[in-house]
């Protein structure tokens, strides 16, 4: 009578508070015990243990991009290439002489143009701070307590944010939407594909790991300090993280204990075969916030920390070491260049801007060479937006960072700049095995550019997500959100069309 764990999870939450219900669920959720093998009872599953997510199949026509420069996002390019994709996945790519175009393929002439992986923004508040910026739209900070690990960006996400279609029109195909930085622990982020949908569920990146947003420094201490509650100092900030993770450890221990008790109960029950078996030990009450934090401690939930200053990042790494926490990426991290040796050694990524600085004291020590220095030292570097305006120009911001490095003598290859907004960003979300590069087997998240993507003059001509053709500049741009309809004047997403439709029938 074992049920699959995701269903169990739903049941547990539905039956919370009912002792017998919990027992029933615990029994039902226990994997089936093989009859006749009483010596090895199976451990009951913990509520957060689930099957690996299955990425559903999608259908898309067999398509061939022919003739363009394919920039793979992994440091290389193929000039005059062919890229084949079907049913949402890249099938093959290579020089024109090497990859033959199968009969029946839809052929798109990309000659003279560039193809890149879909861009990825590793730090977005689209949907949780949607446009227009009004009070009713402020759904990104549950700033009522400094630790709200129990909230999820997905639950505040509005799929009609007008910014979404603009980002898609700028070649962005995946985003990590995070809660804001008012709280020490802001809650779960959500990785999305920028496919239009009626709810966040339609947009979720299939198989993406959970993420946790945390914040250091000025924001939490300002928000709560102004209310004369903790934290009001950086000391209070760190005390808050420590308390939270200690609670999570204890929560995990409670469940391990229950698991052990349950195991021995099961052993007894199956050995004795008594009619009046004693009731199974009841599962501890679930706490979804602690569960998320425990997930972070166990490495299941990727930790994304908003942190500007070098000394604070080192402090967070020390705390992480104390608790066995793995930091995935420091966000904003304008001083990351000061500690790039440590970040490289610890395998911690950095997501930052090209040139944002100075608006608060912890952002005072920005250098324009930050991304270049990090890359040179082997840190996984990501260029993020944190802004509905900037997400439309990730390519330009990457070009600026590349240029800043070169001006200072750090002569990085141009492909590095593309990696900042594709493959490295995919790694930040934990989806680099799925997207972020042009490789056979990867999702067909693709952008066709009118020219070199690092040029200010280049436009996004076409965007494909999961092999589906979702944006074409020549056809008048993208799909406005419901909000934008009927506002009285013509609205357009994207640049004015200057070229004819590009599809060529074979």
């Amino acid at each position: 009578m074992g049920l699959d764990p995701p269903l169990c999870r739903g049941m547990v939450s539905a039956m919370r508070g009912s002792f017998w219900g919990l027992v029933w669920v615990a029994l039902a959720c226990a994997p089936p015990v093989t009859r006749g093998d009483p010596a090895t009872p199976t451990t009951p599953a913990l509520p957060w243990e689930s099957q690996p997510a299955v990425v559903p199949e999608v259908e898309s026509p067999l398509t061939a991009f022919v003739g363009g420069t394919l920039m793979t996002g992994l440091g290389s390019e193929i000039v005059d290439g062919v890229l084949l994709f079907q049913d949402g996945r890249i099938e093959a790519l290579g020089p024109r002489q090497v990859v033959s175009i199968p009969p029946g393929a839809r052929v798109v002439d990309v000659g003279g143009r560039y193809v890149t992986p879909g861009l990825i923004d590793a730090h977005s508040h689209m949907g949780v701070y949607p446009l227009p910026e009004v009070a009713a739209h402020a759904d990104g900070n549950e700033a009522t307590r400094p630790v709200t690990a129990n909230v999820r960006a997905a639950d505040g996400f509005w799929p009609q944010d007008p910014a979404l279609s603009h980002a898609l029109a700028a070649g962005v195909t995946s985003v990590l939407v995070l809660p804001g930085s008012a709280n020490l622990i802001g809650g779960q982020g959500v990785s999305l594909k920028l496919l239009p949908g009626r709810s966040v569920a339609d947009m979720k990146f299939p198989g993406a790991p959970l993420t946790l947003k945390m914040a250091c420094g000025e924001n939490p201490k300002r928000v709560y300090g102004e209310r004369h509650t903790a934290p009001s100092t950086r000391m209070g900030n760190v005390a808050g993280y420590r308390e939270a993770f200690q609670s999570a450890l204890e929560y995990g221990a409670k469940f391990s204990e229950w698991q052990a008790k349950h195991q021995s109960w099961q052993k007894k029950a199956s050995a004795g075969g008594k009619e009046e078996a004693e009731p199974a030990p009841s599962m501890p009450t679930r706490d979804f916030g602690l569960e998320t934090l425990l997930g972070a401690l166990q490495g299941r939930v990727l930790v994304q920390i908003h942190c500007y200053r070098a000394d604070e990042m080192l402090g967070m790494l020390a705390l992480a070491q104390d608790f066995g926490l793995k930091v995935r990426v420091f966000h904003h991290a304008v001083e990351a260049y000061k500690i790039r040796d440590v970040l490289a050694a610890r395998g911690v990524g950095v997501a930052t801007w090209a040139d944002w600085w100075g608006f608060k004291l912890e952002a005072y020590d920005t250098v324009r060479e930050n991304l270049a220095l990090l890359t040179e030292s082997g840190v996984r570097a990501v260029l993020h937006s944190d802004s509905p305006a900037l997400v439309q120009r990730l390519n330009q911001e990457a070009a600026k960072s590349l240029s800043a490095g070169r001006r200072a003598g750090i002569m990085l290859d141009r492909h590095v700049a593309l990696a900042w907004i594709t493959s490295n960003a995919a790694w930040a979300l934990g989806v680099d095995n799925q997207t972020g590069s042009l490789e056979p087997g990867k999702m067909a998240d693709l952008v066709v550019w009118s020219g070199d993507p690092l040029s200010v003059y280049s436009h996004v001509d076409s965007v494909y997500v999961d092999g589906q053709h979702v944006y074409e500049r020549a056809l008048g741009g993208g799909r406005p959100s419901d909000f934008e309809l009927g506002q009285g004047l013509e609205l357009r997403v994207g640049a004015p069309a200057t070229r004819s439709p590009t599809e060529v029938k074979p």
Binding site: L131, P132, E133, V134, P162, A163, H166, E218, R222, Y337, K338, R340, D341, D355, W356, W357, G358, F359, K360, L361, Y364, D365, T366, V367, R368, E369, L373, P388, A389, Q392, R393, Q396, A399, K400, L402, S403, R406, R407, A408, L454, S455, V456, Y457, S458, H459, F483, E484, Q487, G488, L489, L491, R492, G494, A495, P496, T498
Partner: protein, 439 residues
């Protein structure tokens, strides 16, 4: 590109070459000495381009801008082949020099800290401008050589000052104070559009009454006016258009309403923001009003800018409206050239985009005789680029302010250099590197 890097990568301004038919440079780049850039493509600033040009500065002024020709004896000759020379950019609607760390109130001089009256006409940016602000070096490094340093906040924010981004202190940075009065009709939590407009009308009416006879006012023979005498004096200067009034406004319909007000008081308007300006482009053109805008603003950020679109500048430009580009943020003043590049990508002519970075600002703020154009007699504020300045992969080889080579270093450069080699960074008991120990 490679060729240019080879030519200019190491500070080409020091490489004076002996060219046939030319006199060699004098030994000194003496202050006030003549400097001649030879062979560059010169974007004069009004949209003209001179290939293989010659630009000579003497002292703080430009003396020659022409096709390449003979250079007078004694001038330092700079081989600028492959480079592009433009006027230094002008940042407008920026708190540059008035703001250091935005969230630290004590470092912000762009607005009063207490007593937030809506009308602060007498508030003057010149009183707060700090030429040693670390923001200035960051902007100068990207070719910004002048700014209209502007107050912000309130209904009437105060007056702006025209400054050169000089690096030396106490060389005066201020060129002219009170170049324009700044106001905002953007929706706020405190007041609605009719509320703002009636308050502005009342202020202008008071100023008119005051201006009719300051003497009667001084003798107490005027009805009581709620504004201070300094506010009244300053406001009275915008009546009739002696002093331009810069107004932040977003909606098309609000722009038309503002024009009505401007007509009654004969204001000389400069629109700022104007996210929906495109929808009334012909009316703005007919009123001969320049517009300060960010051509990258294409999102419905508020209900006042639901119709924002990325070709706003293109449509306004096509209607003949003089455009001035601004990022409206002191920390991103360095990105002016990126704004121009994006405007060109959206369809604006390169000439109009170039004018939007200096020429039109100089004209709108009354400095057209001295700034914004590379021409004989103008102030020698210019920038020499290693390629197309609107592109993202180019940079300034040299920035010249008042005829002198200005530093392209900033506080950020020093931080970069300090951390270039982490082996030289102290780490407590783990060890001090030699360079620190020796001090």
């Amino acid at each position: 590109m490679k060729r240019r890097e080879a030519l200019f990568g190491l500070g080409a301004h020091t490489a004076a070459l002996a060219l046939p038919g030319l006199l060699l440079p004098s030994q000194a780049r003496a202050e006030g000495g003549a400097r001649a850039w030879l062979g560059a493509t010169i974007w004069t600033g009004d949209g003209q381009v001179i290939e293989d040009g010659l630009l000579i500065s003497v002292g703080d002024r430009i003396s020659v801008v022409s096709k390449a020709g003979p250079v007078p004896g004694g001038a330092e000759v700079i081989d600028a082949r492959g480079a592009i020379i433009t006027p230094g950019w002008v940042a407008t609607e920026t708190a540059l020099g008035l703001i250091e760390v935005e969230l630290e109130a004590t470092t912000v001089d762009a607005r009063p800290r207490r007593g937030l009256d809506a009308i602060r006409a007498a508030f003057s940016a010149a009183d707060g401008y700090n030429q040693l602000s670390t923001l200035i070096g960051v902007a100068r490094r990207e070719g910004v050589t002048s700014a209209v340093s502007s107050p912000e906040g309130g209904l009437v924010s105060g007056t702006s000052a025209w400054v050169d981004l000089v690096e030396r202190f106490p060389e005066p940075a201020l060129v002219r104070e009170n170049v324009a009065l700044h106001a905002s009709l953007l929706e706020t939590a405190e007041n609605s559009r009719p509320g703002l407009l009636s308050e502005l009308r009342d202020a202008l009416e008071s100023a008119r009454l005051y201006a009719r006879s300051p003497q009667s006012y001084d003798q107490g023979q005027t009805r009581e006016l709620s504004l201070s005498v300094l506010d009244l004096q300053r406001l009275s200067q915008v009546l009739g258009g002696a002093l331009p009034l810069v107004v932040r406004v977003a909606r098309g319909v609000d722009i038309l309403r503002l024009f009505k007000l401007a007509e009654s008081y004969q204001l000389r308007l400069i629109l700022s923001g104007a996210e929906e300006g495109w929808s009334v482009a012909n009316q703005i053109a007919a009123a001969r009003v320049p517009v300060i805008l960010d051509p990258m603003r294409n999102l419905p950020m508020s209900f006042a800018s639901l119709q924002a679109r990325r070709d706003n500048a293109v449509i306004l430009g096509a209607a003949g409206v003089p455009l001035i580009f601004s990022g409206f943020d002191a920390y991103s003043a360095h990105n002016l050239r990126q704004l121009a590049g994006n405007a060109v990508a959206s369809g604006l002519s390169r000439a109009a985009a170039t004018r939007a970075l200096a020429f039109e600002a100089a004209r709108a703020f009354g400095q057209g005789a001295d700034y914004g154009l590379l021409a004989a007699g103008r102030v020698a504020n210019l920038c020499i680029w290693n390629g197309d300045p609107f592109e993202l992969g180019t940079w300034a080889i040299e920035v010249v302010i008042r005829g002198r080579s200005a530093s392209t270093r900033s506080r950020q450069t020093e931080l970069f250099e300090r951390y270039r080699d982490l082996g030289q960074v102290p780490r407590g008991r783990a060890g001090l590197p030699p360079s620190v120990r020796e001090r």
